[in-house]
């Protein structure tokens, strides 16, 4: 039951998400609905990653907490499905 509670109540802090959006767009005008929508999209994306990561883990017959290698494989599979936005121009400088 506590897992369901975590699933329902967890979410990204609106203040942190707003700060991130402001830093990406460079503009201060980020409306509250926009923050809500982006937080919802990001949470569902995390869910897809973790569920796919668990599937990868059961395929490899491993147990315990998820590891970055599982998330990497999950990310690769999501990219193949087209659920991850691809940059038409590759990112040059990080």
């Amino acid at each position: 039951m506590s897992r369901y509670e975590s699933f329902r109540r967890s979410g990204f802090q609106k203040s942190n998400m707003k700060r991130l959006l402001v830093s990406i767009t460079g503009s201060q005008k980020i409306s509250m609905p926009m923050t809500i929508v982006v937080s919802g999209i990001a949470k569902m994306f995390v869910g897809e990653l973790i569920e796919t990561g668990r599937i990868v883990m059961t395929e490899r017959r491993e147990s315990g907490p998820l590891r970055p290698c599982h998330i990497r494989e999950a990310f690769r599979r999501l990219k193949l499905e087209g659920k991850v936005p691809r940059r038409s121009v590759p990112r040059l400088f990080r």
């Binding site: 897992r3 369901y4 509670e5 975590s6 699933f7 329902r8 109540r9 967890s10 979410g11 990204f12 802090q13 942190n16 998400m17 700060r19 991130l20 959006l21 830093s23 990406i24 767009t25 503009s27 005008k29 409306s31 509250m32 609905p33 926009m34 809500i36 929508v37 982006v38 919802g40 999209i41 990001a42 949470k43 569902m44 994306f45 995390v46 869910g47 990653l49 973790i50 569920e51 990561g53 668990r54 315990g64 907490p65 998820l66 590891r67 970055p68 998330i71 990497r72 990310f75 087209g82 659920k83 991850v84 936005p85 691809r86 940059r87």
Partner: protein
């Protein structure tokens, strides 16, 4: 020579801290979403105590995902002018679960706003006759 080198080192330090202060606003802080992500990971099926490297890795992926989404939304929005919430909805139009969830979130937000407005109006009515 010893004096000039120490003065040079002191001035370099000062320049370093001032540039650090301006960089701190530009640099992305690490571990911004750590606590939220830990709860989310447990909710979606991970262990009750997820590995810290997994949490950091997820945070990097999420920040990159949001960044790419926002850039794509901005590409769409520049044709019109301002960046709007509809641009994000257009981006996820192919992903039905996300689209449904976002429309649900937006309508709930509207409902809550209306409910709060109605609550305030009622309080005013109570205050006025007195």
């Amino acid at each position: 020579m010893h004096n000039s080198s120490s003065a040079g080192a002191a001035s370099k330090q000062k320049a370093g801290t001032s540039s650090q202060a301006s960089e701190a606003s530009l640099k992305r802080k690490r571990g911004v979403f750590q606590k939220d992500l830990q709860h989310m990971m447990y909710g979606f099926g991970d262990d009750a105590n997820p590995l810290p490297e997994t949490v950091s890795f997820l945070e990097d992926i999420v920040v990159e995902y949001v960044t790419d989404m926002v850039h794509k939304a901005q590409d769409i929005a520049t044709k019109r002018g301002k960046l709007l919430t509809e641009d994000f909805l257009f981006l996820i139009r192919k992903d039905l679960p996300k689209l449904r969830r976002c429309t649900e979130l937006l309508s709930m937000n509207e409902e809550l706003k209306q409910a709060r407005k109605a609550f305030e109006v009622d309080e005013e009515k109570l205050a006025n006759p007195e």
